[in-house]
């Protein structure tokens, strides 16, 4: 069956904006919308254009699907990318989520940083760790150089288990907090 030009361009836009969804999710939506437009036009005798107009802009329609799916998928996911993407999307809708987003970025960065320092300590022990001078922390990190000779390292090889534990814990807590926030506000957010 042939599609009108208006319909084709509507479907193209819809597909484009549904890109973050999986292929099967996307094609199922497209099939349903195509069926709707045909049925609606046939049953009411309206033109394809007027049925499309009643459906609203393809971008807006895609957004309604996308937000819901993005959030639901994220609330079941452990992937930082999936979680951050949902958080970022929600941050465009509410100030509270802007806060959650920045906290998440910080949590992931800090946790990953600690793990990296722990690994660096295994490979290049003299350039990773924490150095203190006169009771002040002068350097803390991996791949550090130019540490003053008067500073002394505090953790030594303890950096490895401590960095791994604290880093993993930070990553876990961050993940848990995002998922918790998503679940708590899921009902509300799904109505956006």
């Amino acid at each position: 069956m042939t599609m009108s030009t208006e319909m084709e361009s509507y479907i193209t836009t819809l597909r484009l904006h549904l890109a973050p969804l999986t292929l099967s999710e996307r094609e199922e939506i497209v099939m349903e919308i195509v069926a709707h437009v045909r049925d609606s036009a046939e049953q009411s005798g309206a033109t394809i254009e007027s049925v499309l107009a009643r459906l609203g802009p393809a971008e807006a329609l895609a957004d309604q699907y996308r937000d819901g799916l993005l959030i639901r998928r994220a609330s079941r996911s452990f992937s930082p990318i999936v979680l951050l993407r949902a958080t970022m999307r929600l941050a465009t809708k509410s100030i509270a989520w802007v806060f959650v987003f920045f906290l998440s970025v910080f949590g992931y960065a800090f946790g990953a940083g600690l793990v990296i320092i722990a690994f660096a300590k295994m490979i290049i022990p003299s350039h990773a760790g924490a150095w203190v001078q006169d009771g002040r922390l002068v350097d803390f990190g991996a791949f550090v150089s130019g540490i003053p000779s008067s500073a002394h390292e505090v953790l030594g090889l303890w950096m490895i288990p401590l960095g791994l534990t604290a880093g993993s814990l930070t990553l876990l807590v961050t993940t848990f907090l995002i998922r918790k926030s998503l679940r708590v506000s899921r009902l509300v957010q799904s109505r956006l």
Partner: protein
């Protein structure tokens, strides 16, 4: 309470704009209405829209219902199947799952008691309006 506003994503102007308030109210009822339309058997999207129009005067923007159905399906309240129709293209039929029937039952009870309570509350307002006529 500013914190509550943030979490709900409500704007302060909402109460000052009756149309928006009504739109929000409708939006909140859409899920229940979609579930209720399927109480007696499976329907496809356009049938659900028509059903709601004839049975509840609930005129929805046509694009609204499909994302809602997709969400209810992911929540396990609905199932769907593609059925080949004489129209020449398949149609996606939705039906309630056991969980969906149960949820709708709960929603119906909550809604009814809520509406009754509010009606009592609004009685004096409506009476006064009636007398003023």
């Amino acid at each position: 309470m500013p914190k509550l506003r943030l979490t709900l994503g409500l704007k302060g102007t909402e109460l000052e704009q009756p149309d928006r308030w009504e739109a929000q109210l409708r939006k909140g009822a859409v899920e229940m209405a979609a579930l209720a339309s399927l109480w007696q058997g499976r329907l496809y999207g356009l049938e659900i829209i028509r059903y709601l129009e004839t049975h509840s005067q609930m005129a929805l923007a046509e694009g609204t219902i499909y994302p809602v159905l997709s969400r209810l399906k992911t929540e396990g309240l609905l199932t769907s199947e593609w059925v080949e129709a004489e129209a020449g293209h398949p149609r996606k039929y939705y039906s309630l799952t056991g969980a969906g029937r149960e949820r709708l039952g709960g929603m119906a009870t909550a809604w009814t008691s809520f509406a009754q309570g509010l009606s009592r509350l609004l009685e004096p307002v409506l009476n006064e309006k009636e007398n003023a006529k």
